[in-house]
């Protein structure tokens, strides 16, 4: 495998998150427009100056990124639509960075957002993928809860992780979310509450599940020169990987595509897991966060529960993790769930995270995971960000 070229000269800037809403009567177009406007404003850019646009959304139907250009009055010379759910941010960054380096675009907005009507989630499930329609929904129609319950059950059986181990991740994230005014969850969560919550799909219970909601996340990708000329705080991109349908012969998913690319990631970043000041994993369910911590080299396979047991995962702890509360406590605004870690990491390393700020955060790992097509998540991504210019 060829060594990927450096992402030197490319920066991430203008992180913007909307407040999340449990249910919204507005459309994905509304939410995406809101986040795009927020990012452009904070960078002092006019919509007409934007020449690159990357969109991730599940609820735009019947529109795509193409329809959005006319809807929002954009005239980009570079356009991307990334239907990769939780892995979207990492993939969007990789592609946008190369476009900036190649001169295909000067200013790219990466936006993810979705709405959530009363019945949206059920409707989204019913048309999610062909394999899900053919081979997973007929078996109890538990949606992603049931799919991840199976992975969690096997993970617990194979590696001895317990519900309390998962609970500690959720409890720490709730503590982080309480410092994030945009988060949907506003009440503290104790381990006892976690353990006694009503069952959803055994062994998964209520607080293992994200709350579907409406919202959007956005950031801009541009050259370092452009960011400096505009006086914007920015993060640099040290490394980025993605992989799809890794390990197809594993009978059940206990690892993700990161295992194939983890060496490339750290080699390109020129540092290692121990150098990260904070970690943003894709946390649709806590078992997936454990899988990422293992597969990205923080500990050996199956040892994440041990690794995390004596760690403090809050913003002031020794292993700050999902510092804005993640999706588990922030809420999952559809495809924006795949952006939440990236946008928060940009805020962190540029010193703009306000109440969730990890002191002196310089390096962040952002990991993504997406799309249970049938029985497992197919897309994985990871990026390492570093402080370029602080606010």
């Amino acid at each position: 495998m060829a060594r990927p070229a450096s992402y030197e000269g490319v920066v991430l800037t203008a992180p913007f998150s909307t407040a999340y809403q449990r249910y919204s009567q507005d459309t994905a177009h509304f939410w995406i427009a809101t986040a795009l406007r927020g990012a452009l404003r904070s960078a002092g850019l006019k919509p007409a100056e934007l020449d690159g646009f990357s969109v991730s959304s599940f609820t735009l139907f019947p529109d795509t990124a193409v329809g959005l250009t006319q809807h929002l009055g954009l005239t980009p010379r570079w356009l991307d639509h990334i239907p990769m759910g939780g892995a979207s941010a990492g993939v969007a960054v990789r592609r946008a960075a190369r476009a900036i380096q190649a001169g295909d675009a000067d200013y790219i907005a990466c936006v993810a957002g979705d709405t959530n009507h009363i019945d949206s989630f059920r409707q989204l499930l019913s048309s999610f993928s062909r394999f899900a329609m053919d081979a997973s929904y007929p078996y109890g129609y538990g949606g992603p809860n049931a799919s991840f319950a199976l992975l969690t059950d096997r993970y617990m059986h194979e590696y001895g992780a317990t519900r309390s181990d998962f609970g500690r991740i959720c409890v720490a994230q709730r503590a982080n979310a309480l410092k994030n005014p945009n988060a949907v969850m506003k009440k503290p969560l104790t381990l006892d509450q976690y353990l006694s919550a009503r069952p959803i799909a055994d062994p998964i219970a209520l607080f293992d599940c994200v709350m579907p909601c409406a919202g959007a996340e956005a950031f801009l990708v541009m050259s370092q020169d452009s960011a400096e000329k505009r006086g914007l705080p920015y993060a640099t991109l040290s490394a980025a990987i993605e992989r799809h349908n890794a390990h197809p012969d594993d009978p059940i998913q206990l690892r993700g595509g990161w295992t194939l690319d983890v060496d490339t990631l750290w080699d390109q970043a020129g540092c290692g897991p121990q150098d990260m000041d904070l970690v943003q994993t894709y946390d649709d369910y806590p078992v997936i966060s454990m899988m990422q911590i293992e597969d990205l080299g923080f500990c050996a396979k199956g040892r994440a529960a041990d690794f995390l047991r004596d760690k403090d995962m809050t913003t002031t702890g020794d292993f700050p993790h999902n510092t804005s509360g993640g999706q588990l406590s922030g809420g999952q605004a559809g495809a924006a769930g795949g952006f939440i870690g990236m946008v928060e990491a940009i805020r962190q390393v540029t010193g703009q995270a306000n109440d969730t700020q990890v002191p002196d955060a310089k390096r962040a790992l952002v990991s993504g995971f997406g799309m249970i097509n049938f029985d497992r998540g197919l897309c994985s991504s990871a990026t390492v960000l570093e402080t370029g210019m602080r606010a």
């Binding site: 062909r130 109890g140 949606g143 199976l150 096997r154 069952p199 799909a201 059940i252």
Partner: protein, 418 residues
Amino acid sequence: MTTPLQPPPKKDPQKRSTAPTRPPEMRSRAAMHLTAAAAEGRFALQCCLECGAVQYPPRDACSSCLSTDFEWRDMPPGGTLLAETTVHASPRLFYRERMPWRAGTVQLDAGPTVLAHIHEDIAAHGRVRIEARLDQAGQGVLLALPETPTPHQEDAPLMRALSADPKHRRILITDARSPHTPALAKALQDAGAAMIFAGEPESWRPYPGRAALDALGVEVLPMDVTDTASVQKLAGEIGGKTDILINTAQMLRPGGVLERGDTAFARDEIEVNYLGLMRLAQAFGPGMCARVSDGVNSAAAWVNLLSVSAMTNAQPFGVHSASQAGAYSLSQSLRAEFRPSGLRVMNLFFGPTEADDWYQPLPPPKVTTNALARAVVDGLQRGLEDVWCGDIAQDIRERFRRDPKVLEREMTMGGDGP
């Protein structure tokens, strides 16, 4: 272990019947092959004709070699339960009404990993036996059963949903005079049917089977499928408690078009075999459809007994075959019309029988009434759509599958002339 199913209490007539809900029906065309095999009780998976890989879920190209040539082959049923969940929350009404629901990941001995319904008697991480069944949407699903049957395993709610088991159900056999009715009544009774009704045309005329029906305690009630009023009258009386209807009414005479000389018998055959089925469906169908989710003794299935000549014309019963083809086509319409409710339509195809006088001149093998009765009960217990009873019916099915035109040519030989 499964709790044995108790007979349901008498229904409060003022209580609303639960409206039928269904599991999801949409499938890709490739996945329908699983359904087609399940309709006959076979567990088959997609095999690549080039590299031999067995794959699941079904695809339009081989995920090992990208070939697009496939064959669906019967698979060994063994597997191991890798992981399981019990679903307590679902946005789908059918499952919400049946929570909690057990599902799991099974590593098949045949290779692929599948999701399946998991029977309650299977131990965590235990061995399983996979069957393909039709669910209440009429689609094929995989069912993991204990490797060796456990006591009362058929009584689990999951099994009731994936079958039309006669146990605790009330059954109407439409023609008491059919030579198959006594054996059928006996087999259904042995399978735990709560009540058996039989419709009797021309009650003034004695017939040999009546004594046997009386001895079995079958409730014989007047009905003639050629008489709309009598069908509607019986439906008014027992339509609300008919859980399974088995249509045994059959008019059979030999002869082709030229041999018959007139249309009199053809008209009688159409009256009984085709319009009789239609009258029954119009009188009993709507009520049965409304009671598909009505608890232990919910309406479950509609059964047609059809000569296998419905599939391809068979001499010397050329005109009768046409009535069977008509009835078969009508049964397909009933399937489509019953689908939204989840009421099953099972067709049992049989070759010449021992008991029907008009088959006397034909050589063996012939189907006995006991074999036919067993096949009906087995088909209901497994929730089948198509049952091929006896060697001749199975032979025709196989030849039809290989090439219907070749079969037609073989069945219409002119004989060696002078």
